[in-house]
């Protein structure tokens, strides 16, 4: 070894590129223009070309050749400050690379890379349970204790990355039990009951000490919005009803409520509520075993929202509640941090309040509540009636017991044949293909052994259903096979792509009789599936995987600086905007270039205020035209601008990397391990731009940062939650101009956007690749490239419509074909 090592090194140095005519034009080109930075001495961006084979002999080399070709086509390499090849040289190499790569693809299998067996991720599991058992999953999440799924390049559905562990299987066993019990029990329809509450409305220790003296707990009083940091009266629980409702079902809630002091006499700047809009009462579920009912809880869907008149009046809503959950009342457009507001009010309007004897939070709060006129909601009477059902047996019982459900539940009688038949039906739906005799036999063994331990036939059958939910046939998705032996696999792949859930009966039927693979039938199904609201799961899942929106909120914005984010629940609004925007592009088959620049977006009141746009009159989201294009496209959307900041300040580097990575699909190399990290100094007078300029004087940093930084500078006018700003906090002006690596310059966000729009081809390829990866549940490889190019070419011809793109992906051979047996 000792003797050989130096020789090897020597060889590398002496014969870096041994040029021969039959090797083609690449080796001399590399030697002349590339090897100095990507050779034996230096391997910038971890690339080394002096030892590159002459031809493509494996997929690693394919990836390297493709990379070189892309860089040359983009004109990004050699760097602008290096000696440039002539046009003829460049063209010759580009042609040679293109044909060499084409030859490789045509001589290799046309299926692209390999899919790998993959299990349901948590999202898919939850949706599948909802559709398989017809369960209401508003506040039922069987996956709540599952370990978080690992992601790769933000994708949460890549087979390779989704591991199964003993811990997860244990959770599957527990989840199966809770799912099936919830679906089947109670066997008989529970009686409808009514609970009335008219007094003793204690809420939380902080405000109870005042309410006891001021109103004797005769009504519930709501002050804060749910997002308040130190909530006082943000969640109105009924403590006498803390155990919650006894059964899952619909409950009718009647409330006598009153909106007070909408037109309060204080400064709008201090109170911050909108005098023009009615006060809105919300209802969210609460579970006292999870934590205090007057504080935020992990499971908190908004079940109902009511606009209140200023005078006391009765309101009736019907909401779904799971057993054990109690309704809690919220003030959706209420105060922010009432705890701090008490003092501000009594001090600013001191004349209207008694002279404080012991100034402090306790007395300020008492005076502000007793003598003040801050907006608040009073609930005087609450009546809860239920459970009510649209049908009985409930849908989940019919889902597992079929038409016989009513009789079986009444009598508890079940023959062996009936049990087998029900298991066969249920397992076939759960496995998304007909269950085999063997499979049903094995479940029957569970049923039999449970009966022997004394379970009733019906109980034992439910135990069999639990086994179905733990089978690999349920947990792992069936992949399409090349020989087409499984027609249902295509239905499964389609449905987990567009619904993140199981295929419905119609899809499975079309698959079983062979029609689904016909292009026009497939097209019609895709249209039907996208029109179904289940496709919201696709929009959500894909945006999370493409734009990393899953991470929105993982770096919570600073509460002092960005209290609006919490007060108006901007996080939900931001996500909703991007969802509705994407939905609109699909529905109208609008061009994907709208993602880069558009003349419309979707906002609700809070977001309109955030963007400084005219607010829509009604609650909810509305499409608005953008005359000022600053908000046009994804880069003007607060979801993207917030997820690319850290909640405290912005970094052009983070935003630049995000853009290169997700929007253009050209991720920069990670920083070299020995590099000194940039330590933003927010106290000093230096702007981030000045700090980065210093960073770029270092040659090894400059290599990547000349590409990254200009991408981020253009977005500096957007603060960490996507609000427009003209200056930084220390009043330093913002310079949003920049110079791209090829020397093109821009002055601001608008002119930068034009540069980006011109990169349509790159953007289109990046989006297509991501969509294809999401659709097939695997990372793409160099060998998939011809299929991606084919899709983007066809898309171009069709006019770049988003719905067309989805259809092209579904028709692509990559979507249909699967692993080659080896």
């Amino acid at each position: 070894m000792f003797a050989r090592l130096p020789l090897l090194l020597l060889l590398l140095f002496i014969t870096p590129v041994n040029v021969r005519a039959e090797d083609g034009p690449l080796p001399p080109f590399l030697k002349q223009h590339c090897v100095r930075c990507h050779g034996a001495a230096k391997q910038n961006a971890e690339r080394r070309f002096d030892v590159l084979p002459r031809t493509i002999d494996n997929s690693n080399v394919l990836a390297e050749f493709q990379d070189i070709l892309d860089q040359l086509n983009l004109g990004e390499m050699p760097p602008a400050d290096e000696k440039q090849p002539t046009d003829a040289e460049r063209q010759q190499v580009v042609q040679w690379l293109t044909s060499t790569i084409d030859d490789y693809h045509s001589s290799h299998r046309a299926t692209g890379g390999e899919s790998i067996l993959r299990r349901l991720n948590a999202r898919e599991y939850r949706n599948t349970i909802r559709d398989l058992l017809h369960l209401n999953t508003t506040m039922f999440d069987p996956t709540v204790a599952f370990p978080r799924d690992q992601t790769v390049e933000h994708l949460d559905n890549v087979g390779d990355t989704l591991v199964t562990s003993g811990y997860l299987l244990q959770q599957y066993l527990m989840a199966a039990e809770s799912v099936i019990d919830k679906a089947v029990f109670p066997l008989l329809q529970p009686e409808v009951k009514t609970w009335k509450f008219t007094s003793n409305f204690k809420q939380q220790p902080e405000i109870d000490q005042v309410h006891g003296k001021t109103n004797g707990f005769r009504h519930m009083t709501l002050y804060d919005v749910p997002g308040a940091d130190k909530p006082e009266g943000a969640y109105g629980p009924i403590h006498a009803f803390r155990e919650g409702v006894p059964f899952d079902g619909i409950y009718e809630i009647r409330i006598r409520a009153e909106a007070l002091n909408r037109n309060h006499p204080y400064s709008d700047a201090i109170v911050g509520t909108d005098k023009t809009e009615p006060l809105r009462l919300g209802i969210v579920p609460g579970d006292h075993t999870v934590g205090s009912l007057h504080l935020p809880q992990p499971m908190e869907p908004l079940l109902a929202e009511i606009e209140l008149a200023d005078k006391p009046a009765w309101y009736t809503v019907r909401v779904w509640l799971d057993a054990g959950y109690t309704p809690r009342f919220t003030f959706q457009n209420g105060l922010m941090d009432a705890r701090n507001l008490w003092k501000k009010i009594v001090q600013k309007y001191a004349d209207e309040f008694p002279e404080p004897k012991n100034p402090g939070i306790v007395e300020h709060r008492f005076n502000a509540i007793k003598y003040g006129k801050l907006p608040q909601i009073h609930l005087h009477e609450i009546e809860i009636t239920g459970p009510l059902y649209d049908s009985w047996p409930k849908p989940s019982q019919t889902a597992v017991l079929g038409d016989a459900a009513a009789t079986v539940l009444e009598s508890g009688e079940l023959t062996d044949a009936q049990m087998r038949a029900q298991l066969q039906v249920f397992a076939s739906r759960a496995y998304r293909r007909p269950a085999s005799l063997d499979e049903v036999d094995r479940i029957m063994q569970v049923v039999d052994s449970q009966r022997q331990s004394g379970r009733t036939p019906l109980e034992a059958l439910t135990d069999g259903f639990k086994a179905v939910l733990c089978s690999p046939a349920f947990l792992y998705l069936e992949e399409p096979t090349r020989d087409g032996t499984s027609a249902t696999a295509l239905a499964t792949r389609l449905s987990y792509f567009l619904w993140s859930s199981m295929p419905d009966e119609r899809l499975l039927e079309l698959a079983a009789n062979g029609w689904l693979s016909k292009p026009d039938v497939l097209d019609a199904e895709v249209r039907r599936m996208l029109a179904d609201e289940k496709s919201d799961a696709f929009i959500d899942g894909f945006l999370a995987s493409w734009l990393a929106l899953r991470d929105l909120g993982s770096m919570p914005p600073d509460r002092d600086q960005f209290s609006d984010y919490y007060r108006f629940d901007l996080k939900s609004a931001m996500l909703e905007e991007t969802r509705q925007f994407t939905r609109h592009l699909i529905d109208q088959n609008l061009s994907i270039s709208n993602f880069l620049d558009s003349d419309f977006t979707f906002v609700n009141k809070a977001l309109a205020r955030h963007y400084d746009l005219p607010a829509p009159a009604d609650i909810g989201f509305h499409k608005v035209a953008l005359t000022d294009r600053r908000r046009g496209g994804l880069l003007g959307q607060a979801s993207v601008l917030t997820v690319t900041a850290n909640g405290i300040d912005t970094s052009p580097v983070v935003r630049g990397v995000w853009l290169l990575d997700n929007v253009l699909g050209t991720p920069p190399s990670p920083p070299p391990p020995d590099v000194e990290p940039l330590d933003p100094d927010i106290r000093g007078a230096k702007t981030i731009r000045e700090q980065l300029a210093k960073h770029r004087t270092n040659a090894s940093c400059n290599d990547c940062h000349r590409k990254i930084d200009p991408m981020g500078f253009a977005l500096e006018n957007f603060d960490p939650i996507g609000q427009w700003r003209a200056t930084y906090r220390k009043k330093q002006p913002i310079d949003a101009s920049g110079e791209m690596p090829d020397g093109t310059t821009y002055n601001d966000m608008q002119s930068f956007r034009a540069i980006l729009v011109a990169q349509h081809e790159l953007f289109c390829r990046a989006l297509t690749s991501k969509l294809l990866a999401y659709a097939t549940g695997r990372q793409l490889e160099a060998i998939d490239r011809p299929h991606i190019d084919q899709i983007t070419d066809q898309l171009q011809e069709k006019g770049n419509g988003m719905a067309d793109l989805i259809r092209l992906v579904i028709h692509s051979p990559v979507f249909h074909e699967a692993p080659v047996p080896n």
Partner: protein
């Protein structure tokens, strides 16, 4: 009977407990259990609501030769058994409203967005122990307190672990057998799950025949998961059959945490010693009523001393009591010899004493008053970390180090950036 289990039994007897082990000795699961029990690592976390009065807590000097501060005087004997860390915290704000982040690093409202849902240090360790002990963890504390109280233990689902309220309930959990109904349903669940695993293993075998090689390899994960759960169920089954330890102690009466502290600490020590659990958490919260120390003013209002010396004196008196009890607990752990090793129980128990509150008078959650004892670390000094904003070290780095020592294979916890430098 092997010598090892013989020693263990005499050891338990001498500690005032008697554990019968007949069933465990026969099966494979029992061997697995006793092997993994050879020298387990434990974790005890103790936290209070209002921190420690900084001027009386922090020693002036760093390193090994610091002079003990007034509050550390009770720990004099243990000076080489613990470490202090200046300028460690989670960077949280919110005063009382943020102290529940002591063991998680985040506020509960933000936890749902995090990869592990804001799980707390102790529960992360408890997940690792799993079914190897009867109780994955024991959390002792109270449901109330100023703005919710300590609230130290959180699961990955964002749920607070309901605390065991006092020594009586703790005693019952440790030594009294479950009711017949509870045992029946636990056994029935194990039986069902075993039966399900048999069936799905058949499904997996039949699926495997249809797969190509790489997918077959992927399915191996499922097979090994089935084996893991089978082992766990076997252990669960054993715990159903293994009687709880016997004790000569009689059931204690709850008298409030001030009076109960010695009893609670003793029971925690006993729980570790009998390997009933390896993770315990103690909240010094609402049930710690300072009237029982003869102090007329409230603990909360004293923590807002307003720099009035009389108030400070009383506050320090309360905190002194807590640290005296800690010293007594360390004495206890040190007096117990760890079987199958040369060391004491303290050598294999990490004791973290602290609070989510740094300075109650100013409501800050920075510079948390941490004391780390035991666990086999090199102790005896005050370690200083950067005080400046950007170069501050997250407390979660210490938690990563503790978890690694505990045996958890992880390089990340909460807001950590690495392990804690300087701790070995």
């Amino acid at each position: 009977m092997s010598i090892r289990s013989y020693q263990r039994r005499t050891f338990l007897k001498s500690a005032g407990v008697c554990l019968a082990l007949p069933v465990l000795e026969s099966s494979e699961a029992a061997r697995a259990a006793s092997a993994s029990r050879s020298v387990p690592q434990r974790l005890v976390c103790i936290g209070n609501e209002f921190g420690m009065y900084p001027d009386a807590f922090w020693p002036k000097a760093d390193g090994r030769d610091y002079e003990l501060s007034p509050l550390l005087k009770p720990l004099q004997e243990h000076r080489n058994d613990f470490t202090l860390f200046s300028h460690l915290d989670h960077g949280l704000k919110g005063g009382h409203f943020a102290i529940h982040g002591f063991l998680t690093g985040v506020k509960a409202a933000d936890a749902r967005n995090l990869p592990e849902g804001g799980i707390s240090l102790d529960q992360k360790a408890a997940e690792h122990v799993g079914a190897q002990t009867r109780f994955p963890s024991l959390a002792i504390g109270s449901d109330n307190g100023v703005h919710g109280g300590c609230q130290m233990s959180w699961t990955r689902t964002g749920t607070r672990v309901p605390p065991i309220p006092g020594p009586r309930e703790l005693f019952r959990q440790l030594f009294l057998e479950d009711g017949a109904e509870a045992r029946r349903s636990a056994t029935a669940r194990i039986q069902l799950q075993e039966s399900i695993l048999d069936a799905v293993l058949g499904d997996a075998n039949s699926l495997k025949r249809k797969l190509n090689k790489s997918d077959g390899q992927k399915l191996e994960e499922y097979f090994s998961s089935v084996r893991d759960v089978e082992r766990k169920l076997e252990l669960d089954r054993q715990w159903q059959q293994v009687p709880k330890p016997e004790t000569d102690l009689s059931e204690p009466v709850n008298q409030g945490l001030v009076k109960d502290m010695p009893a609670v600490y003793d029971l925690i020590a006993l729980a570790l010693q009998t390997d009933s659990t390896r993770v315990a958490t103690l909240e010094i919260g609402h049930s710690f009523a300072v009237q029982d120390l003869g102090i007329k003013k409230g603990y909360h209002s004293l923590s807002h001393h307003g720099k009035v010396q009389a108030n400070i004196d009383l506050l320090v008196q309360i905190e002194m009591y807590q640290l005296q009890q800690l010293a007594r607990f360390l004495d206890k752990l040190k007096s117990i010899r760890e079987p199958d090793s040369d060391g004491t129980l303290l050598d294999h128990t990490m004791v973290l004493h602290g609070s989510g509150m740094g300075n109650a008078n100013s409501h800050t959650n920075s510079d948390l008053p941490l004391i780390l004892a035991g666990g086999g670390f090199q102790h005896g000094e005050q370690k200083r970390y950067p005080a400046e904003g950007r170069s501050r070290v997250p407390l979660c780095n210490l938690f990563v180090s503790l978890l690694q020592r505990f045996g958890v294979e992880t390089d990340q916890f909460g807001t950590s950036t690495s392990t804690l430098t300087g701790l070995s």
